[in-house]
Assembly symmetry: C2
Homo-oligomer: 338 residues x 2
């Protein structure tokens, strides 16, 4: 922040009027005469005056900035969320400070501290995989800085939340496979420690039981990466455990499965159908294209930000914490066409 930047005082001095008059003229205050306004605005234009947001923040005790804590930007889903956040925030005249936790607890705590020091007016948080202690978030609430959690929420803090209905999405994905005539459906799931892992598995189980298909433990595997999927599928095939469908907990996993299956000579979707989760950049470019659940990251970002702004701007009256559940759409593509 260099001294070079023009201030209100500079304008005032130049025009031989007071700083307050300049301030008022700039914001079109009704008290100020037309000529003064014109003169001030003209000079401001000429000298390229930019109001000092820092001074404003201090004065108003409101920074017009929201903080975002996000696990890892490189994931398509999270970067979509950010786009949604930015669009809504800028529209409302708010800046956005983004902090990556990189899936590390210590970093997340540091992020929280930074945002608090920066006096953000509110925060949007998706917790890291390794966060089990939530004191650093309580800190915001103690200081009346509203929080909205998105996607990866925390159980023991009362706050607004935006999540997607993992259970339902998993249910519908599995249902879709069943509807296409599959009965031996494998599930490549995430760790049960994460809520989303549990929810997706439970949705899968519900669809099976509803269709009267007994769950087969041999078909339920923990595999949530490209490599793990390859190994898991390889094992199934080598052990001659038959399956005609795969519901994977994310797209990379689905693609790992897909490749292994093809390499082993099975046809997709004819012999084995595949459904992924997250609908990232990959789903359109595999061969066949991948059926997947669209998590609507952009919408999640816009919605979370709207909820946060509502809290920030709500004058006084508190209202109870809200939880919004987004529907995730199953996008049917080539890997599961009937």
């Amino acid at each position: 922040m260099k001294s070079g930047l023009v201030t209100i005082k500079d304008l005032a001095r130049e025009l031989n009027i007071s700083a307050s008059t300049v301030s008022r003229a700039l914001k079109d205050h009704p008290d100020i005469s037309k000529e003064t306004k014109r003169a001030v605005q003209e000079l401001a234009q000429k000298l390229n005056y930019q109001p000092n947001a820092v001074a404003l923040s201090l004065k108003q005790r409101r920074s017009n900035t929201i903080g975002v804590i996000i696990p890892e930007i490189v994931h398509y889903f999270f970067s979509s969320v950010i786009s949604g956040i930015e669009d809504v925030a800028y529209e409302a005249g708010f800046n956005v400070i983004i902090c990556q936790s990189n899936e590390r607890y210590e970093r997340e705590v540091a992020n929280a501290k930074t945002l608090l020091a920066s006096r953000v007016d509110g925060v949007l948080v998706s917790i890291s995989k390794h966060t089990t202690d939530y004191k650093h978030f309580k800190n915001f609430q103690n200081n009346e800085v509203p929080i909205v959690f998105y996607d990866r929420v925390v159980p023991d803090i009362i706050a607004d939340q935006v999540i997607i209905d993992d259970f339902d999405a998993a249910y519908r994905s599995t249902r879709h496979l069943i509807d296409s005539g599959r009965t031996r459906i494998a599930h490549l799931g995430g760790p049960m420690a994460l809520l989303i892992g549990q929810n997706r598995k439970n949705g899968y189980l519900k669809a099976l039981s509803e269709a009267g298909i007994p769950a087969d433990e041999n078909l339920i595997l923990e595999a949530d990466s490209f490599e793990k999927a390859r190994m898991a599928i390889m094992k199934l095939i080598n052990q001659k455990i038959k399956f005609d469908g795969v519901f994977a907990t994310n797209d990379l996993t689905a693609i790992g499965a897909m490749q292994t299956i093809q390499k082993k000579g099975y046809k997709i979707p004819d012999e084995i159908a595949i459904v992924g989760f997250s609908d990232g950049r990959f789903s359109g470019i595999t061969d066949p294209t991948l059926t997947s659940v669209d998590q609507h990251g952009y919408e999640m970002g816009t919605l979370a930000t709207q909820m946060l702004l509502k809290r920030i701007l709500s004058e006084d009256d508190e209202y109870p914490a809200e939880t919004k559940v987004l529907n995730a759409d199953l996008i049917v593509r080539g890997s599961s066409i009937i």
Copy 2:
């Protein structure tokens, strides 16, 4: 920024000392007695005092914040750059405000204005595809806010730059194909309007001519997306124009080509070898895996930030603008194994 947050005054009142003493005690000023320091620091801890970064910024006329203007976060390359930026910035005690231009000129101008108003101490910029006017950047320079351009730089502004050597990377990629015995190498390139498009094509041409292989206009196609690549390759094959290698301007394009080639019954890499560019998330998950140029986004981010911080922190003496050229590594994978 709620009133709830503890200030230095609160601590002072509580301890019946002056605000200045508290301020000094908190930063371990030698003048202050041990007991006072202890008392202050203890209370600060207890009340969870967080220094108000906004007030500090105003006072120091230095926000300890850097601004980033980036085309689109959703691209793997750009999100890697951001990670590099954040790591270096946080290490140095700087915050980062990220603004997406979404490849739109107007948005970029608005971004620049926002960052100026926020009194960032410096900016990192990669211009949008549609930016041809650079006044909004001059504004920073007029106000002594240093700029470092990364990846997509601008010709007519004198400023630090970090770029990768597209020409050389393209040359080496093509060279690699030639070394593996290919002589009919197609180039799927980007629009010639962008510097990177030209550079990559020229690198390709140089490798050919150096090897005494005449360039064939039929093999030089403008195709820089998944779909365009599919159509371009389809056309080549249908027209019975023979080729045994493909150098594509990015990975999605390479993958489009790969799929079409495989679908037409040709073996990769045996009959046709493929090299992509950017080395994103895709390269490891195709079958065969994709040879590609690693653009080193993370390093670009760290380097650009180091250059920026150096400018910000360099007390007075100006030094001439620097341009750093990063080498891009060719990562050889299955699609071009000899």
